[in-house]
Every structure is written in structure tokens, then in C-alpha cells.
């Protein structure tokens, strides 16, 4: 989830506390699966499309999101970045909706003041818009058409390749972005989390439109996607819309490929040093931890917040308050197959990398040895609870958080995760710190600025 910023659990369970819920409805062609926290899940019988529905009539607006269960982890050497490049090309038109016809997605949504975008991450790709509920059907029609009827023209790919390459170049302007990429590539040697979501530059430049077509035809099918509708529309009406526009597509004619690669066990600490012109150095330490659905992740999340979540957190006191670091970070980078626990710091002027890394590790060691207090854990849990309430503030943020959990593999954690977090004990936090934040499982990177030539 690195691609869209730190994975925040701030919006969890908001539906549950909102009171109103999507009552289960019987719409021919759908099978009801479950209802959790006011969100109802259905399957479109014709093709296996997963559909989540949450009516919310607080305003005449709807957010619609389709999440494809494909991300950069599904790529291989030579075609890295394909998921993301394809995401861009999804805006170039489809059989029934395109610029020449005057009804492309950009033209339709652009003329209605809709807020829309698409994002790609390691585990999923999503396309979404928030717009007036009266305009929803037109958007669903376009979104559905590009699921199976996308134009993929070489001329469009050539023009968009340089757009994406500039996106890549913009990212590399930031030495910390480069450091994270290098450290993660060193931490994961075999699993495809090794390569950045945006891909390697040479692959971005050289991938062919035929390879992108093959990628599209492998992964863009209804049985590899989840549609989410939150907004001013009744559940039955939402389901009928989905059926009308997605119901004509068949299931994929082949099984959706699984990633079979497993990351070998790391046998010792790894280190990376990046030199680049600049002024402010940084330290980044990554530890491999289980995938986000693992039972130990809530305790690791609490550990991250105990280390850094405000002025009373341990790394604030040890690094920022002592003017050793300008910024610090701690927490889990949530990934489906295997996550990363991350510690990071930007160095204050005149402070050495050694000094900051030493303090980071000392603070970690204190937790392994002495544990954390019940008060620290309680404070983290209360902060998450408040953040849940803040997450009710906007439909777009609801569908975005749901999409993250869909990518992780279980949307119901959007509701259920908070209870797991509330059950974390100080002993569990100490246990997971000892179990996972082992020096031999670490990959440490330094960005060491060098003077401009």
C-alpha cells in the first residue's frame, strides 16, 4: 500500500457505528454472501463479481469503486510496472466510451464535477469516482465497459509511457523515496514485492502493447474484481445497476494465476547505502513481518504507534525532542503476502547516521527487554477509536479504505480489525517485538548526501 501513502486504519468500523445498514435484499441474479457492519456482500451469479453495497442517504452523492485483485506483485521481470501502466491506459477509451464518441470517462466525469482517479499498489488496482447520485449510472456503464472492452493502441501506449516515466522521474527526485525502493528491493530478494510498484525504468520504456494486452486479458475479469457502492442509492437499485452493466461479461476462461514464489528465509542483516546530492540524510530499517491478515499484525500495529505516534511516543522523545532527527516514522507497511515493519528517521543537521540508528535500535531493545505499559497500549487503542469516527467523514474515504482491505484479501477486516486491536495486550506487543524485529531479519539503509559536483 506504499503507493497511496501510509496505510491508515483510521476509518475502520465506521459503518458499524453509523446505525443505518444495508438491509439484505433479494435481487434476481445475485447471491447474498454476508452482512458485516452494515455493509452487504453479494456475488453476481453470472460471472462471480463480488459486490459490496452500503446505502447512505446523508447527501445526494455516491462513491463507486472497482478493485481488481491484481497489483505489481503479479508482474515478472521484463514487464514490471505493467499494472500501473495499464491503469493509465484504462483512461484512453473503450469500445463504447471514448473521446471520438464524445463520451469518454474523462469527458463524462469532467463535465459533472466528479472527483475521480485510479491507483495501483503491490496487491491491487482500483478505479473510483465520487459524484452526484443521479450521475452514477453513466459512470458505472463506462467503468464496466473498460473491464472487458478496453482500447489498447500502441500510439496511446507510446504517449503514456513517457507520462509514466516522468512520474517515475518525479519520484526519484526524492532521495528518501529512492532509499525506500532500494531497501525494500534488498529485503525481498525473490518475492515480487522486490520491485517498485511503478516498475523498473527500462521495463516501463520497453514493455509492448501486446504484453499489456496479455496482462489485461489475464487479470481484468469480473471474477477477479470487487465493486463497492456507498452512497445515496438503495441496495436493490445499486445491484441492478451492477447487473445491467457487468452482468453480460463471462467469467475468465482461465483460472486467475496465483503468485507461487516464496521469499527465502533471510539469514542475516543486510545493508544498503545510497549516495546522491542533497543535504538531509536518513536512516531506514525494514523488518519482514507476516502478511496483514496474520494474527500478530494488530500487536505490531500497536508497537508501531507506541514507538511513534505523537509527542509522548518513544521515538519522539528519543530522537525528535533531542534534536537528533527532524522526522521519524514507525509502523507496519501492510502487504498481503508479507508485510514490512518500518523504522525511519531524517537526520537533524550535524547528526550522524550511526547515532540515530543506535538510538532507534536501543528503543526497540528496551521494548524487547522491558515491554510496554498498559497505558501506552490503551492510548493507542483510544486514538484508533477516535480515528474511526473521523473516518465517517466522507464516502470517498470509506470506499478507499474498503479497497485497501479488499486488496489485502478480506474486506470484513474494515469492520473487524478494530476489535482485534482493542484486544492487544502489553505482553503481546513485547512478544511480537522479540519475534519479528530481529536484527538478523533486518535490512538497513542509509541515505548519505553528497556534495553537488
Amino acid at each position: 500500500m506504499k503507493s497511496i501513502g501510509p496505510f491508515s486504519l483510521t476509518l475502520l468500523a465506521l459503518i458499524a457505528s453509523q446505525g443505518s445498514s444495508a438491509a439484505q435484499v433479494a435481487v434476481p441474479g445475485f447471491t447474498f454472501v454476508q452482512s458485516v457492519g452494515g455493509i452487504d456482500e453479494y456475488t453476481l451469479d453470472a460471472n462471480g463479481l463480488q459486490v459490496l453495497v452500503k446505502p447512505d442517504h446523508s447527501a445526494p452523492v455516491a462513491s463507486f469503486n472497482v478493485t481488481y485483485h491484481v497489483g505489481s506483485r503479479n508482474e515478472v521481470t521484463g514487464t514490471t510496472g505493467s499494472t500501473h501502466l495499464l491503469e493509465h491506459l484504462m483512461f484512453k477509451g473503450s469500445e463504447h466510451f471514448n473521446d471520438p464518441a464524445g463520451n469518454s470517462i474523462k469527458q463524462y466525469l469532467g463535465a459533472r464535477g466528479a472527483s475521480f482517479n485510479a491507483t495501483t499498489s503491490y496487491d491491487r488496482t482500483n478505479y473510483f469516482a465520487t459524484l452526484g447520485a443521479k450521475d452514477l449510472e453513466g459512470y458505472v456503464a463506462i467503468e464496466a465497459d473498460r473491464m472487458r472492452n478496453l482500447w489498447l493502441h500502441d500510439a496511446d501506449k507510446q504517449a503514456e509511457m513517457t507520462v509514466v516515466r516522468n512520474e517515475y522521474e518525479r519520484g526519484k527526485n526524492d532521495p528518501n523515496s529512492l532509499l525506500h525502493e532500494d531497501v525494500q528491493a534488498t529485503a525481498f530478494m525473490a518475492y515480487p514485492y522486490h520491485h517498485p510498484v511503478i516498475g523498473w525504468k527500462s521495463d516501463i520504456e520497453k514493455v509492448s502493447v501486446q504484453e499489456l494486452r496479455a496482462f489485461y486479458d489475464t487479470y481484468y475479469w469480473p471474477n477477479n474484481a470487487t465493486v463497492t457502492v456507498v452512497g445515496d442509492i438503495e441496495a436493490a437499485a445499486a445491484l441492478n445497476l451492477v447487473k445491467r452493466y457487468y452482468g453480460g461479461f463471462p467469467k475468465s476462461p482461465h483460472p486467475i494465476p496465483e503468485v507461487i514464489t516464496e521469499e527465502p528465509v533471510q539469514t542475516g542483516p543486510r545493508r544498503v547505502i545510497d549516495n546522491k546530492p542533497g543535504k538531509v540524510g536518513s536512516v531506514l530499517i525494514l523488518y519482514k513481518v507476516p502478511g496483514t491478515l496474520d494474527a500478530d499484525i494488530p500487536a505490531l500495529d500497536v508497537l508501531g504507534d507506541v514507538l511513534y505516534s505523537g509527542k509522548n511516543s518513544r521515538l519522539y522523545r528519543a530522537l525528535i525532542d533531542k534534536n537528533l532527527a527532524l522526522r521519524v516514522g514507525a509502523g507496519v507497511e501492510n502487504l498481503r503476502a508479507a508485510s514490512l515493519f518500518e523504522l525511519s528517521a531524517s537526520l537533524s543537521p550535524g547528526v550522524t547516521h550511526d547515532a540515530v540508528e543506535k538510538v532507534m535500535l536501543e528503543e526497540l531493545e528496551k521494548i524487547k527487554t522491558d515491554g510496554v505499559t498498559a497505558d501506552e497500549v490503551l492510548q493507542v487503542v483510544r486514538q484508533h477509536r477516535a480515528a474511526q469516527a473521523y473516518g465517517r467523514d466522507g464516502k470517498a474515504s470509506v470506499v478507499a479504505q474498503l479497497s485497501e482491505w479488499i486488496g489485502i484479501g478480506d474486506w470484513t477486516q474494515y469492520i473487524r480489525y478494530e476489535d482485534k486491536l482493542a484486544k492487544v495486550t502489553p505482553a503481546e506487543v513485547q512478544r511480537v517485538a522479540k519475534a519479528y524485529l530481529d536484527h538478523r531479519q533486518s535490512t538497513t539503509g542509509w541515505y548519505v548526501p553528497e556534495a553537488a559536483p
Partner: protein, 450 residues
């Protein structure tokens, strides 16, 4: 990774939006539902919505960098020290109280104002208001925290120094706004010098002179018990006095000779570019909305000319946008922001200028204006989707010197725009012969495109 990412020009810059998701929609009569009162000298604006438990607060008072006449660093130092302890509590005790309930409270300093941002659950609002008042009124200003703040700000300056976006923006704003104009930022060198010489006495004097209720605005939106909030505000801010009025530009920024400047930074793979000019217009000036609509056709969103042609058709950039900036308090500017690979810089800049010239020369079409109007009005409805969106809109309306009824008038104002007004504004406020062009990145190292 996302298909579309504009960081330096807000799509809805200057566009206020009506309440949507999770909030009560009053559509055409939003102003009627605002509760506004002067409480303890503060202009308090409250807007209840039907969201449960959540309260968002934003506010400001005129105490930004432009007021720090003797030492440019003093306003930022003062604002930075607000949450580092008060006369009765140290920073850890304050943070502990807020953290225990998950409340957020922060301050930031800009060119014109000290900004206040807070969020809490309904039950915890009295605590947040009490701490906010204590931090604004009784900061401890200890020597220890002062020294720490100087080091932290110096580090922040070093980070800015290596950012192509920051360096280009700094050079652009200094090129278009003259000495003495409130929108003109200090240079990084000026900041370094000022920071080194700033004293704690200057900070205390700045606080004494500029902090007070007389020009402070506080906007509270969400699940509100208005009577209770007002009681708390009266109690927390009782007896506070002072504050200074906004400092306005003595005269609008004028166009000068064209500028073409490069800020070279080594080791950068993308060049940040600004192209634009001062407009001499404040947001509330009559031609402002017409120019905004025109700029939106040029560079706001997927259907804009710059994105549709320079990015989509020619593939020269990931990020390109145009809009109006810096016109809330004083006369502002129009600007294009773009990023280009060093090898595509010349080509990208030429394409950008080509579109700019066509836009200026021929104006926009009736169809473009019609589509843009529906977009602006639709966005107005969609982007006020949160309590934060409503609160920000209310605050900006007041900061712009507009009545709150303006928010209800906005869609009609957009709808009433004529092609002559828009194209006339483009011609009046844009002069292609006097462009300010700033590039920041590894420009010298660029090799010609193959």
C-alpha cells in the same frame, strides 16, 4: 501510483463547495444555517451537521511571516513554540491529554496567518478548546524549546533546499511579488540568516503584539452543542485582548520585464517548472471568477487543454496544471505548474507556451465554457463532502472578506459567467510577453532529446 496527481495547484482553488457526504446538505441556503457570534472578541462561526460525534475546527489570526518585520523567522518560531508547553503544563502533559482521547490540535504559520486545525469527538471538544486557548494565550516560551525549535526549522530549510518543487516555487513567488508585498516569501538565504540571529525576546514581543482575538476567526463544524461550545469559549478566552489587523499590500503587484530563471539542483531526474504572472486581483474582485474559469479551461483536470494535449496527446509530462493562487488576502497570481524530464524540458516548455499563447490569443470557446461551468458547479457540490471541507470553505470566505451569503450565490455566479467576461479577463490579466518562467532541477546536465 495514481493516474493523476496535482500537488501545487488545487483543482478547487477558490471554489467553495456545498455540504455532502456525512453532513447535512442545505444546498442553496447554507448561510442561513451558520451560527455566527463574537465571543470573547473572536469571530466564531459554527455550522452543525448530522455527522455523529465528530467536530472539526479551523481558524486563523493575522500573525504570519509578513508581520515579522524585524526578523523573518520570528513568526514561525512563535507558532512552532505554541504546542511546546504553556505556563502551567509542559508539552508532554498537553500531548498526553489530547492523545488519551485521540484529539488532534495543531498550528502552522504561513505568509499571512497563524492557522489553527483541530479535530475531536464531541465529548472531548471542551478539552480541545481549553488547551487551544492555553497554548494561544500562555505559551511557556522556554529557552530550551526555543533552541530546539531553531534546530528543527534549520533542518526543515535544508530539506526544502533539496526539493525542486520548493525551490521553483520560492523563486517564482519572489519573481512576481515585489519587495514589501505580503505574498513575497523570504529566500532560503534570508531564512538562514534570520534564524541564526532570532532571539527569544523577539518571539515574546511578537506574541505580545500580534496574538489576540481582535482579528481571529474560529470555525467549528460537525456534531455541535452550540450553547455549550460558546460557554466554553467565553470561559477559555475571557480577558484575552489584542491582535493586529491584516497587513495589505500598498499597491497591487505589477508586471515587470519577462523572467527566465533556472535554479540548478544536482542529481534530480525531473525538473519542476512554474510559468505565470501576478494578476493584481484579489479573490473578491469582480474579474476574479472569470479569470478562474478561464484558467480552469487551460489547466484544471483531465479535460483541460494542458492535460489533454501536453500530457495525454504528447506524453511530455506526468503533472501539469494551471490555476489562480495567493489571492485570499492580497492580490495574487495565475500560474502553470509542470514537471518534465531534463531531456524533454525544452519540448515540454515549448508545448506549454504554445497552449498558453493559443488560449490567450483565441480565448476559450462557448462549448468549453459551458462544460467548465457544469464542472465547477458539480465540483462545488462534491468537494464539500466533509466537515473539513465545509470548515475550510467558511474560513476562506471570511478571510477573503466576503459575506457568508456568497457561498449560496457561488453556483449562480458561475452560471452567469459570459464568454466575453472570461476571454476579456484572460486578455486583461495575462501578458505572454512578460512571462515569469522558473525551472528547478538538473537542467545544466540535460542532454538533447534523441
Amino acid at each position: 501510483m495514481s493516474i493523476f496527481n496535482f500537488r501545487y495547484i488545487s483543482r478547487s482553488a477558490g471554489v467553495v463547495v456545498l455540504a455532502l457526504a456525512g453532513v447535512q446538505l442545505h444546498a442553496a441556503d447554507m448561510a442561513k444555517h451558520v451560527v455566527r457570534a463574537t465571543i470573547a472578541g473572536i469571530d466564531v462561526i459554527e455550522y452543525p451537521t448530522d455527522i455523529k460525534d465528530v467536530v472539526t475546527i479551523v481558524g486563523s489570526l493575522p500573525a504570519g511571516d509578513t508581520f515579522a518585520a524585524d526578523n523573518i523567522a520570528v513568526a514561525t518560531l512563535t507558532g512552532t513554540l505554541l504546542d511546546k508547553g504553556t505556563a502551567t503544563m509542559d508539552k508532554f502533559a498537553i500531548a498526553g491529554q489530547l492523545d488519551r482521547v485521540g484529539a488532534k490540535l495543531g498550528f502552522s504559520v504561513g505568509q499571512e496567518v497563524l492557522s489553527i486545525q483541530a479535530r475531536s469527538l464531541k465529548a472531548d471538544l471542551p478539552l480541545v478548546l481549553k488547551i487551544m486557548a492555553d497554548e494561544l494565550r500562555h505559551p511557556a516560551f522556554t529557552a530550551e524549546e526555543f533552541d530546539k525549535a531553531k534546530i528543527a526549522i534549520e533542518g526543515g530549510l535544508q530539506q526544502q533546499a533539496q526539493s525542486t518543487d520548493s525551490r521553483a516555487a520560492e523563486a517564482f513567488n519572489r519573481a512576481i511579488f515585489p519587495e514589501g508585498h505580503p505574498n513575497r516569501p523570504a529566500s532560503l538565504d534570508e531564512w538562514h540568516t534570520a534564524l541564526g540571529s532570532a532571539t527569544l525576546a523577539q518571539v515574546k514581543a511578537f506574541h505580545e503584539k500580534f496574538y489576540g482575538p481582535s482579528h481571529m476567526v474560529l470555525v467549528v463544524v460537525g456534531d455541535l452543542d452550540i450553547a455549550k461550545i460558546n460557554t466554553e469559549l467565553k470561559k477559555d478566552f475571557a480577558g484575552w485582548s489584542g491582535g493586529a489587523p491584516y497587513r495589505r499590500a500598498s499597491k497591487p503587484a505589477a508586471l515587470g520585464a519577462p523572467v527566465d530563471q533556472t535554479v540548478n539542483l544536482a542529481g534530480k531526474t525531473s525538473v519542476s517548472v512554474f510559468v505565470g504572472q501576478a494578476t493584481g486581483l484579489r479573490f473578491r474582485d469582480p474579474d476574479s471568477l472569470a479569470l478562474r474559469a478561464g484558467a480552469a479551461v487551460l489547466g484544471s483536470g483531465f479535460t483541460s487543454r494542458l492535460l489533454g494535449r501536453v500530457r495525454d496527446k504528447e506524453g511530455l509530462t506526468y503533472s501539469i496544471a494551471a490555476g489562480i493562487s495567493d489571492d485570499t488576502f492580497d492580490d495574487g497570481d495565475w500560474r502553470i505548474y509542470a514537471s518534465f524530464a531534463p531531456t524533454l524540458l525544452d519540448k515540454g516548455l515549448a508545448a506549454t507556451q504554445r497552449e498558453l499563447h493559443l488560449w490567450w490569443q483565441d480565448g476559450i470557446s462557448a462549448d468549453e465554457l459551458a462544460a467548465r461551468k457544469t464542472d465547477m458547479i458539480g465540483a462545488y457540490q462534491v468537494s464539500l463532502a466533509t466537515t473539513g471541507g465545509i470548515a475550510g470553505t467558511l474560513l476562506r470566505t471570511v478571510q477573503r472578506g466576503l459575506p457568508l451569503t456568497w457561498m449560496d450565490q457561488y453556483p449562480k455566479s458561475v452560471d452567469a459567467l459570459t464568454l466575453d467576461q472570461v476571454n476579456g479577463a484572460i486578455k486583461r490579466y495575462v501578458d505572454p510577453k512578460k512571462l515569469v518562467i522558473i525551472k528547478s532541477g538538473s537542467v545544466i546536465a540535460a542532454v538533447p532529446p534523441k
